[in-house]
């Protein structure tokens, strides 16, 4: 989207503008009224539709705003269990994917354009295919993405009937079976845990990014935050222990974070279990080495890990039944088993955890592993491979050499959104529909089913997986809605009130009564099982939990496998889901590419993350180009020092270095899948790092924030809960009125203000994307960011505090502070930025001449300038996403956060038309709406009972750079960390 060519485009676009003056009259536009206006549509006012976004098979409920028939913004559906009204970066950015001009537009066979009918002829009733009628499907294999859709499930079942010999595989590079395998090992059947964080006082996350990863993370973040938002010092707060290698959003909020190699998390878990079971916790305070429970062999009892484990164990013991231990998807089943055991012992099961039957189709069965397919391919047993969604050629473990295998398949079909790496190797390429264009259903993590309804007529044509399956069922394609409607009619047994039921389901976006029931498991049983587990095969040995010995990291299956058998001190390579492009499927999304990584602040690419100490040991400078050598694979990418990262481990994001036909994604970052191995999907030892030289040009790390520290300045304030209670007034220097020569401007009526609670900000950046979508903020591309010209109105500042070795991170969303004594205003020569009567710092784009004086005088540097005509970077398709309530800024003007003034004015007009005053909490800004943890509160200070007014009464309130006397309307609540009382043992 923003390459060299586009730079020229920007430069060129100027020509049109050059010499434009104020008094030119533009040509008459035309008006095209409906011929028949749909009753629900009121041109000029947005309509909201409930739908659901499927991601790796699980649904997240959404409300999508539609303006005159074009979806413009994605928001969370408060009624949906996985959303609760919040929306993450993927959900919100998916709307840009809908309009992506690079999406596959034509159905092709070996490059030649074909019609759907041709496709049906090839595989449908008169199929000439090898497996075709009346065959039994011998040689037919379908490679699908994991799905939980009841409709799809039923179709799959029918396809299986029709072709008993047909093979099925469900693959997604990020999904892991550890959790279910562990459950199977422990409970004898695959079960899926659903956590209730509201009920947990102590949470221990073992390499689990519960706040930002997984199909229920939005809900978990909300629940977690609800137990953390301090109304007053005396209020209670949950405590979070995190053991992880990289720095995740969860690590950011950790009260006690242990940076430990991914390979050693199992040891930590084991030691934890040991202490908790030993029951000695609490009793033997400080009675030093508890049995042999010294984690991290070779580090000695001094190692901080011991302290962390003891503190966690003590807390867990003290909060039996009100605690929670979670293991991350990256960890092998072993760790999950230990977690289950811990939860069982502490009696958390049934209290903070309930188990339900798995939601995905076939989940827990071998069809969820790519291995059988790969073997079949190697054996040449597959004659027709149908790949629906995903991008296996790109994201299968490198040692499968899937691309090579695929080439050998005689008949290859791909159905997906893009002409990606996989499409390039297939004869048949069938464009798929975006979820915002299609009918369907999907289930959330807790089993709740919800409907997917289209917001717009297919832009580029295409079919859904259901349509595709119907082709193989030799059935004529029926109307998608009809199909869905019928399937649910029979599922619910019809009934006269079905139409009502259906309408309601569509409106609310949730199908009532579909949430999976809890499966009763007995905690005791679990513990017993853990202990009595036979040592067969890769199964962990019984003793491994016992006090007598700590498992070697080498024992770990799944995680390390053979590869992990390495001498300590060797380097571990660790892969992670990218917080922006996920597994690579969003790599063509400009918003996400330009979204700074929550912790590293890197845009447009990935890097080898490693701790400064390890870097020093390897002689790798920050920003050097390094070569990773791992089990025969090589990968070049820039190194990036990440304080707080585990030593002797290198983390790399998946999803970059794409080679498909997607213009934005192509050539951005390095493809870490090339190093991924099937036996060690998430981490493994034996990595070598070689410094190549200084990274230049396209390989350079591009970051929106170079600095890690606050340079000792009081910007993002942090205190411990104890400290806060001891001295609740610790922010008093940073608030209150400042002496001023001017008498205060008198404000009346609605007075807008915002309060941001740093205690619950994970840095997930949902607000940043929300702002981008709501306010038509352009993407400036790698070059632009490299030059320091990113346009985000709302950025999240990340600062490390405390000890350099074991840093804490505090996230500070930074946006226009709407200062009452705004420094930007009095320096504007043309009155382009002034104050409104309701206390907004207004920015009038059409008056701005672009002196940039305001930006220079803005102490918060939240103003953004249109260095070029960025509008030309948007394709006509992407223009359809633009919010008609917000001006698209011209070249050469300044812009900034307006507190979503378009929403304020719309609400104000609505209220006054209805002849009432505007409520203090009636207006919701885009960022506030998206925030999963409700860290952002917005409203009128004029209304003493509004949420924001109440937040202003908290003692930990303060304003940034208060000493300057700018009197910001955006204020912050200092971050409170809930450290365990006497951690020092």
């Amino acid at each position: 989207m923003v390459g060299r060519r586009d730079f020229l485009k920007m430069v060129g676009a100027g020509v049109a503008l050059a010499g434009v003056t104020g008094c030119v009259t533009e040509p008459r536009r035309s008006i095209l009224p409906y011929t028949m206006r749909p009753p629900e549509v009121t041109p000029g006012n947005p309509l909201y539709y409930a739908t659901t976004m499927p991601l790796d098979g699980y649904g997240i409920g959404l409300l999508v705003a539609s303006r005159e028939g074009r979806p413009t913004k994605v928001e969370g559906n408060p009624d949906h269990p996985a959303s609760l009204g919040a929306a993450g970066v993927y959900e919100q950015a998916s709307i840009l994917q809908l309009y992506d001009p690079n999406r596959a537009r034509q159905l092709t066979y070996q490059g030649g354009v074909r019609s759907v009918r041709d496709f049906v002829r090839a595989f449908g009733p008169q199929s000439t295919s090898a497996f075709g009628t009346p065959g039994n499907g011998e040689g037919l294999h379908l490679l699908l993405e994991p799905t939980s859709s009841p409709l799809t499930a039923s179709l799959i079942a029918r396809v299986r009937e029709a072709y008993p010999a047909a093979g099925f595989t469900f693959y997604s590079p990020l999904s892991s079976s550890s959790e279910l395998d562990a459950a199977r090992n422990v409970f004898g059947r695959p079960l899926q845990p659903v956590y209730d964080l509201r009920a947990a006082d102590i949470i221990v996350a073992l390499d689990a990014d519960l706040l930002d990863e997984g199909p229920f993370s939005l809900r978990y973040a909300r629940e977690f935050a609800d137990r953390r938002r301090l109304e007053e010092p005396s209020a209670g707060m949950n405590r979070l222990y995190v053991a992880e290698a990289g720095f995740t959003s969860t690590g950011v909020l950790a009260d006690h974070r242990l940076r430990v190699r991914s390979t050693e998390v199992a040891e930590v878990a084991a030691a934890l279990l040991e202490l908790v079971r030993g029951g000695s916790v609490g009793a033997t305070e400080g009675a030093a080495p508890m049995g042999g429970a010294v984690v991290g062999e070779g580090r000695g009892a001094q190692w901080r890990g011991n302290e962390w484990v003891r503190a966690a164990a003590r807390d867990l013991a003290a909060h039996a039944g009100r605690s929670l231990i979670m293991a991350g998807a990256r960890q092998p089943p072993r760790v999950h088993e230990l977690a289950i055991a811990l939860n069982a012992i502490l009696g958390n099961i049934g209290r903070t955890i309930r188990y339900i039957d798995p939601v995905l189709v076939d989940v827990g069965l071998p069809t969820h592993s790519p291995v059988p397919l790969v073997e079949a391919l190697r054996a040449g047993a597959v004659r027709t491979l149908v790949i629906v969604g995903g991008n296996p050629v790109y994201d299968m473990p490198a040692d499968f050499e899937f691309g090579e295998l695929l080439r050998r398949v005689p008949e290859r079909v791909y159905c997906g959104l893009y002409r990606n790496e996989t499409a390039a190797l297939c004869d048949w390429v069938v464009p798929a529909l975006h979820y915002l264009e299609s009918w369907g259903d999907v289930r959330a993590w807790d089993g709740t089913a919800s409907l997917i309804q289209p917001l717009i007529y297919p832009l580029y044509g295409g079919i859904t997986i259901d349509d595709l399956l119907k082709v193989f069922l030799l059935e004529a394609a029926t109307d998608a809605h009809q199909l869905l409607w019928e399937s649910w009619r029979e599922r619910t047994g019809g009934g006269d009130d079905f139409d009502e039921f259906w309408k309601d389901a569509l409106r609310r976006g949730v199908i009532p009564g579909t949430t999976s029931p809890e499966v009763a498991v007995t905690g005791e049983g679990a513990v017993v099982r853990v202990q009595s587990m036979g040592g067969a095969g890769g199964e962990p040995r019984a003793g491994s939990v016992g006090v007598d010995r700590v498992p070697e990291s080498g024992d770990q299956q799944g995680g390390g496998g053979e590869s992990a058998k390495l001498p300590r001190g060797g380097l571990v390579l660790s892969f992670r889901r990218d917080p922006k492009v996920y597994d690579g499927r969003f790599a063509n999304n400009g918003w996400l590419q330009e979204l700074p990584d929550p912790v590293t602040k890197q845009c447009w690419g990935n890097a080898a993350l490693l701790s400064p100490r390890t870097a020093a040991r390897l002689g790798v400078e920050d920003g050097d180009l390094v070569e990773l050598r791992y089990r025969g694979g090589k990968l070049r990418l820039p190194a990036l020092h990440l304080p707080g990262h585990a030593d002797d481990e290198v983390t790399v994001s998946l999803g970059y270095g794409r080679g498909g036909a997607e213009e934005v994604a192509r050539g951005v970052g390095a493809n870490a899948y090339l190093l991924r191995r099937a036996d060690a999907p998430w981490f493994g030892g034996g990595l070598e790092v070689a410094r190549v030289g200084e990274a230049r040009g396209e390989e350079r790390v591009v970051r929106t924030q170079e600095r890690w520290t606050q340079e000792g300045r009081p910007i993002a304030l942090v205190a411990t809960l104890a400290g806060y209670r001891a001295n609740p007034d610790f922010t008093h220097e940073h608030r209150g009125s400042q002496p001023s020569l001017f008498e205060r401007w008198n404000y009346s009526g609605e007075q807008w203000g915002m309060t941001i609670d740093l205690s619950v900000c994970t840095g997930c950046s949902a607000c940043v994307v929300a702002c981008q979508a709501e306010n038509n903020i352009p993407v400036v591309g790698r070059e632009g960011v490299a030059r320091g010209r990113e346009m985000h109105w709302l950025r999240i500042d990340r600062y490390v505090t405390g000890d350099v070795e074991e840093p804490r991170i505090v996230m500070q969303p930074m946006l226009c502070q709407h200062c009452e004594k705004a420094p930007c205003e009095y320096v504007c020569p043309v009155n382009a930025t002034v104050h409104s009567s309701d206390g907004l710092n207004e920015m009038i784009y059409n008056r701005c001449v672009g002196t940039r004086f305001c930006s220079n005088n803005c102490p918060y540097k939240v103003r953004r300038f249109n260095w070029f005509d960025y509008a030309v970077l948007r394709s006509p398709e992407e223009d359809l996403q633009l919010n008609p309530d917000v001006t698209v800024r011209a070249r050469g003007v300044m812009e900034k956060c307006t507190y979503c003034v378009q929403r304020i004015r719309r609400a104000g007009i609505r209220a006054r038309v209805e002849g009432r005053e505007l409520g203090g909490d009636e207006v919701v800004t885009a960022c506030q709406q998206a925030c999963p943890t409700r860290a952002i509160v917005f409203g009128s200070l004029g209304d003493p009972e509004s949420e924001v007014s109440r937040s202003r009464r908290q003692p930990r309130l303060y304003s940034v750079l208060h000493e300057l006397g700018t009197e910001p309307r955006t204020m912050y609540l200092a971050k409170i960390v809930n450290e365990a009382p006497a951690t020092a043992v």
Partner: protein, 216 residues
């Protein structure tokens, strides 16, 4: 030896100097006047429309209320140009085969919109909301003029920012009871200013001159 310059050159130079200065001043003055003329504002020029729709007939003769066609005006930023079906409500009975209605039928059957030309055109960076104005007693006539006397609708007001501000600063000079919103040629029963102030009181009308009231 003769002088370098002839005698008349004096006058020539002086006239020249004065002339140039005068010309500059005049040019500036002229430019300022020019941008206020209909040539720039587009006032008073009826536009050729795809359908020969005569407001005089529909409003004056038939007495159809503005809101029958422009039905969004009270609840949307847009007054709303009626969908074709709206025309058909009457015209499938009245003059169904009038040649003037040919394009309307065409639109109706082909289900293709009639492409009207915009008469009142604000820049993209201006956000005008009809609903708030009509609900607070600003009559259609106040901005659109006597549409009931227009064969082809044309723009009456300059629609320049200064013109907007006049009302926003002194609404009492135009406000009318909401019942009279669509009345053409309405005359206040009492002195406008007095009535206006009372209506401001009643409807809670404020003097809105915040920039973001119109620019977002």
């Amino acid at each position: 030896m003769p002088a370098l310059f002839p005698r008349w050159s004096d006058t020539l130079l002086r006239v020249g100097i004065v002339g140039v200065l005068a010309a500059v001043l005049l040019a500036v003055g002229f430019a300022m006047a020019w941008v206020r003329t209909p040539q720039i504002t587009g006032q008073f020029s009826p536009l050729e429309q795809p359908v020969e729709f005569d407001h005089r007939h529909h409003v004056a003769d038939d007495g159809i209320d503005c809101r029958y066609c422009h039905d969004l005006v009270e609840r949307s930023p847009y007054a709303g140009v009626p969908p074709t079906e709206r025309c058909m409500n009457c015209h499938n009975q009245i003059w169904p085969d009038s040649p003037l209605l040919a394009p309307v039928w065409a639109s109706y059957f082909k289900n293709e919109p009639i492409v009207w030309r915009r008469v009142h055109q604000l820049p993209e960076f201006v956000y005008f909301d009809h609903s708030i104005h009509v609900n607070k007693g600003v009559g259609c006539e106040s901005c659109h003029g006597r549409v009931d006397r227009m064969a082809r609708v044309y723009q009456v007001a300059s629609l320049q920012m200064g013109w907007c501000l006049d009302c926003h600063r002194r609404p009492e000079r135009v406000l009318r009871p909401v019942e009279e919103i669509t009345t053409m040629g309405w005359v206040p029963s009492r002195p406008q200013e007095e009535l206006g102030r009372e209506l401001m009181e009643r409807y809670g009308v404020r003097r809105v001159t915040d920039c973001t009231a119109c620019h977002r």
